[in-house]
Symmetry: C2
Subunit: 149 residues, 2 copies
Amino acid sequence: MSLNDEVELLRQVPIFANIEPAKLKLLAFTSERLTFRKGLDLCVQGDPGDAAFIIIEGEADIIIKMDNGESKTVNKIGKHQIVGEIAILCDVPRTATVRASSDVIVLRISKDLFFRLVGEFPQMAVQILRELAARLENTTTQLAKALGK
Amino acid sequence: MSLNDEVELLRQVPIFANIEPAKLKLLAFTSERLTFRKGLDLCVQGDPGDAAFIIIEGEADIIIKMDNGESKTVNKIGKHQIVGEIAILCDVPRTATVRASSDVIVLRISKDLFFRLVGEFPQMAVQILRELAARLENTTTQLAKALGK
């Protein structure tokens, strides 16, 4: 894939939509692109977290291990969404397992790069805030359902 | 309270810690300070949301209405924390009721002001990201417990 194609692709990710192309080229250079086959884990609950992932292609399940030892899929994420940023924002181990439900291509963004980007591009921070807020709303709704049974 | 006292107070709120005093003076002027007596609601689940609140003094319960109609306290917030930002970030109705569990003093930050601040001060955005991430982690843990029963 050419560098221009790569930049065009990054511009379609909402959190990068307002970043200048020159900076996106830098991002394309400094972040790592990884492929996970269907069924493989992008990250595992309890592990230390040192990076976030942007989904470029494919879908993944967000799976949590319950107190009784069973696992449950509590959410799905897909193209152009960010995942794995909780552990780097809170300095806590991974709060969930992220498992590829199809073949998945991601951009791996290290903790350092994540904080540099968010500090330099307030619009990116706002987009991630919206994403986290939406996920918190979804989780709170599920909690209300689970408690009300 | 003098303007300098007011600025000093705002500097103790983590999300404002890295904002210059001159800007904090502007914030003290443009935001509204409100008092809620113990038992009163800062906001009510289902209502439209047009502002976030910074707790200056006191504590409040985060209460959600469950599917069976009962209410449950799922979280507590206290001094220097932010609350009510989900509805303005996601453009959804209030996802929970916030009820003063003691007399509470808040700084009410309108939606417009919130986005201006976050856009202008990346460090504030990062602090709010950390706060949201911590709350998401807490809610996910509670969900895992509730589902695993």
